[in-house]
Each structure stands twice: as C-alpha cells, then as structure tokens.
C-alpha cells in the first residue's frame, strides 16, 4: 500500500470504490513521493473507475441530490441490528467456522429454496465478507492465468478488475438498450465468448435494472453447456424484482453443476455496512473458494453473521415493505424520465433506472453530460460508461432515495434539459 492510501481518503477501505484500483488516481504518484513501492502489473493494469471523478465533485458540494448511490436508503431492520447488538453483549467476538456459522448456513440453505435452489449447508454454502468477496473468491478460485472471463456490459464495476487481479482476461460482451439489456446467445457468440471459460451474470442488473426471464436464461444456459463455460451468477438483487419472480440460472437443467450463485444481505436487508454475503456452489468449487477465503479472511464478521440469522428469520416483512416502496419510486422515476423525453428500458429489478442520454448529451458523451448536470443542477448521477462500454450514452439513476428527493432531482433535470 502506498502512503497515499493512508492519507484519509474517504473511500479507503470502507467502500467498494476501492475497486477503482488506483485509489488516488495518480498512478505514479507514489514514486514521486519517494517510497520504493511499485504496484504489481496486474494492479497497475486496472484503470481508475469513471465513478471516482464524480465522487470527488459530488462530495465537494453542499446542495447535491444524489441519484448516484448504489445502496438502500433504509436502515437495516431492527431485529437484525438487535441481534448484532445482543451478540456483542454476550461476548460473541471470536472467529466462526471458516464457512460461517452453521446456524447461518442452514438458514441460508432454507432461505434460497424460495428460488428453487437446494444446497447442502455443510459443503455447498460459504459465508463471505459481502457478496463482493464471494465474487472475488470465485475468480481467484476458478480462474487460471489467461482464462477468458466473459462480462456482459454494462455491469457492476468490480468484475473486470476482479478478473484482472485473478490473472484472467476480461472479455466484454455488449448488451443493448433495445433488447432491454438482456443477454443473448447471439451477443455472446459475436463477442467470442464461445472461447471463454467463465461467464459472469448479474441479474437483476446493476446498473440497468434489467432481469432475465426463464426463457432468456435458458438460451444463455444452452450456450454455456454447448461451449462448456462455468457461470458466476451475482444475484444480490434477487429479492428486489418488480413483477416477475427472480429466476436463478443454477435452477436450469445442467447448470447447477457449473454455476456459483452469489448473494448477500446488503441490498434486500439494507445491511451494506455489515458486509455479509454468501456463495452457493457444488462441493469442488465451494471447497476451492473456502480455501482462498480461509487464508485471506478466515471468516466473515461474527457480529454480522448474528444479524444475518435474524434477518433471514424475522425480517421478511421489512423486505416486503422496502420492495414496495422501491417499486413506487421506480414507477415514478421511469414515468418522469419518459415524460422528459428520455428513453429508458423498463427496470424490472434492483433500484436503478438507466436512461439513454446520448441524444441530448454533447457529442453523445454521457460523462460530460453527467458532469454538466452535476455542476449546473447539483444532481449527481453516474455516467453509464463507468459500467463498461456497453453503458456509454446512458446514466445510472438510483431510486434508493426518498420520493421528495426524486421529485426535486427530476424537476432540476427537466429544467436542465429544457435549456439544452
């Protein structure tokens, strides 16, 4: 770690923004300051995230309404918080089993049956420090140097760096607004994913809000079986779908044995800061991931595991309430965006809308558009290109913010667009 990493950077350590890789964005700054460190090539190879610049500008202003936040605006439900507190009061502060508390693994195995997923809590469930760690473990445990990992874009910003850190070769597979951001076998083939070893799915999707139907997933599953790809399926937003029920690709014929399912507590239970996720995988993959986990992390935070047991047992009503509120905001935001003349594919999951701004942005540049929007109106949104080339020309707007803020933000956006 360079000295720059320790200089009070607000993103240091506590947030997924560290996926930016080069935390201060200056690349060779460390050398100028005289320390002897040179980042490893695979770390140096990862460019700063497009989100980084926005973070700095947005944080420097007082009047920002942020639609750029990828986490719930709700607090973790009280039973979960209470269980965490109680665990501390009772002195539950030691490591747990590497795989996680047996009680929690049993609860997870019970919980995921709602998605028709059956996993053995002793050999196929691994509790991790956030879903992010589960994804990272999957890459590090399953990807050999030079292995090709297909990443449908736009998608969550951490996958590509994670693949690079693991020594793999990321392969972008564009998905399109016109297809409602759904992944197709044709897109996979066109991008050369038939030569890939791993496919990463994220549905419901950050940043597009897209989900995949059973039929759409079946076509992708056929492709994976035909060309022998394994799948890392990040289903962290599974509980937040509007209309259609979530379908896991692992439930499709022949897919369970080649899929790692990732999920966690951050989104559905508003427990982002408690950093707790899990991976479901057949014994070989699960054992390999557990091996990496036990040397790197030993075990997920014990306090958070107690909270998670309570979340699974006692917080379903809270999840339902939060989902209903997100749904109300989702309808409002997408309707307003369309009224403002922006094309937006119907978001059917997560808490993002991903409108196209290419037609109203200078030179179709989403980053310049988002910058000007932030400067002139104080509305922070994330440029779509930050989520891979497939997202260029779009903005990610999060509706994990209050209705009053959504109304004000869209009002400012309306004025802004009228002046273009």
């Amino acid at each position: 770690m360079s000295e720059g990493d320790e200089s009070g950077d607000p993103t240091d350590g506590g947030t997924d923004l560290t996926a930016d890789g080069d935390v201060d964005g200056s690349g060779g700054a460390a050398a100028d300051e005289g320390d002897r460190f040179t980042p490893a090539d695979r770390v140096d190879a990862v460019p700063p995230s497009g989100i980084r610049a926005f973070f700095e500008v947005a944080e420097s202003r007082e009047d920002v309404i942020s639609l750029g936040v990828g986490e719930p605006d709700f607090t973790a439900p009280w039973p979960a918080r209470s269980a965490a507190i109680e665990s501390l009061e009772r002195g539950r502060t030691s490591y747990t089993a590497n795989r996680g508390k047996p009680k929690l693994r049993r609860e997870i195995a019970r919980h995921v049956r709602r998605y028709d997923l059956e996993y053995d809590p002793d050999e196929e469930v691994l509790v991790t420090t956030g879903a992010s760690e589960a994804v990272d473990l999957a890459f590090r445990a399953l990807v050999d140097p030079g292995d090709v990992v297909a990443l449908p874009t736009p998608t969550y910003v951490s996958y590509e760096p994670g693949v690079t850190f693991a020594g793999g070769e990321p392969l972008a597979v564009p998905t399109y607004h016109e297809d409602d951001w759904s992944l197709t076998p044709e897109a996979l083939l066109a991008a050369g994913a038939d030569e890939a070893d791993v496919l990463v799915l994220c549905y419901p999707n950050n940043p597009t809000g897209a989900t995949m139907s059973r039929a759409e997933l079946s076509a992708v599953a056929d492709f994976c079986r035909e060309y022998d790809l394994v799948v890392v399926s990040d289903e962290i937003y599974a509980a937040l779908t509007y209309g259609d029920e979530h379908v896991s690709i692992a439930t499709l014929p022949g897919m369970r044995e080649r899929t790692v399912v990732v999920n966690g507590f951050s989104k559905a239970y508003a427990m982002t800061g408690l950093r707790l996720g899990y991976a479901l995988a057949p014994p070989t993959a699960s054992a390999a991931m557990t091996k990496v986990h036990q040397y790197a992390m030993l075990s997920a935070p014990t306090t958070a595991q107690h909270a998670a047991v309570a979340a699974l047992r006692r917080c379903e009503d809270d999840v339902r309430e939060m989902r209903r509120e997100y749904d109300r905001r989702r309808r409002y935001l997408t309707t307003r965006l369309r009224e403002l003349g922006l094309a937006v594919a119907e978001p059917r999951g997560a808490f993002y809308a991903f409108p196209r701004v290419a037609e109203v942005a200078p030179d179709g540049d989403d980053e310049a558009f988002a910058e000007t929007l932030l400067e002139e109106t104080g509305v922070a949104a994330v440029p779509g290109g930050a989520f891979g080339d497939g997202g260029a020309g779009h903005l990610r707007l999060s509706y994990a913010t209050g209705m009053d803020e959504l109304k004000e933000a869209t009002r400012r956006l309306e004025t802004f667009l009228a002046e273009r």
Partner: protein, 163 residues
C-alpha cells in the same frame, strides 16, 4: 386490492397532498384513472379523510394531548356502539377505539388547555351511565405520530456516488 390501488394508498399515506399526476407516476395508472379510483375509494369509505401530521411543540402553539382509558359496563339497553357514538361527538376526541385488555375504549384527545381536556373527561365522559372508570394520561412528548418521526433526521452519510 390490486397493486395499483395499494400503491395509490401508500402514496397518500406518505403524503396526503400528493398530486394526481404524481400518484399516476407512482402507480402507473393514467391520471384520470387515479381520480376515478380516488372517488371510488372515498365513496366506499376506504379513504376517510386527508390530514396533516403537525408537531405542535415546534409550531409553538398551545396544544394539550392526552390518552384516555375508559371502562364501561354494558347492560341490556346499552351497546358499545351507542357509548362510542356519544363520546365520538365531541370535537375534543381525535380518535376513539374499542380495545382488548384492561379497559374498553382508548381515546386520543386534544385541546388548547389542560383544563379543557380535564373538563371533557369530567363532564362529558365520566358522567355517562355506562362508564365505570376513566384514566387520563397527558402526553408529555411526541416522538412519532402516524409513521412520522418527530426529530431532525440523521444526515444521510452514504457516499454521494457509489458502484
């Protein structure tokens, strides 16, 4: 109840001043359909009124609130409904509920002065033939009312932009 109607009611409970257009955006219904459903819900007695949640302390207005427990003894001629109808007539009563447990009716009452509340209990409730006992609890502080927490909200300490 369908999802759209439920969303319509959620929107109004969150903000009774919500405009028809904004309700339409939140529910996915056309604006004229929202108006029609509001009319139906009012006619059916589902929507009973639209009120504000006021923090009277912050408004620096004289306002005394109390919770009054009322025990009654029924006889052949007197039912709960008749007693309730009699008590509900008073404008001092904000809400009146028949409850299970140690007493029969729970009243939320409010008035400009403590004397007015006391007079209401002493002169309008206690003398009713069926009433056997009243217990008045004056409200000392309101922390939450109808879902609205009465404090300065915690700052949103989430980062402005995250992945």
């Amino acid at each position: 109840m369908d999802d759209e109607t439920r969303a319509l009611l959620d929107a109004l409970v969150a903000d009774a001043r919500e405009s028809t257009e904004d309700i339409a955006r939140q529910t996915g219904l056309p604006a004229d359909e929202v108006d029609a459903r509001l009319d139906d819900l009012e006619a059916a007695g589902v929507l009973r009124g639209y009120t504000a949640v006021v923090d009277w302390d912050r408004a620096e207005a004289d306002r005394v609130a109390a919770i009054v427990e009322v025990n009654v003894e029924l006889d052949r001629e007197t039912a709960y409904e008749e007693i309730a109808r009699r008590i509900a007539e008073s404008p001092t009563v904000d809400s009146l509920r028949l409850v299970s447990g140690d007493y029969d009716f729970a009243l939320d009452v409010s008035a400009d002065t403590m004397q007015a509340v006391s007079r209401f209990v002493a002169e309008e409730v206690a003398p009713l033939p069926a009433v056997t006992r009243t217990v008045t609890h004056y409200v000392m502080e309101t922390y939450k009312e109808r879902g609205v927490v009465f404090d300065d909200r915690d700052e949103d300490d989430r980062l402005s932009v995250t992945p």
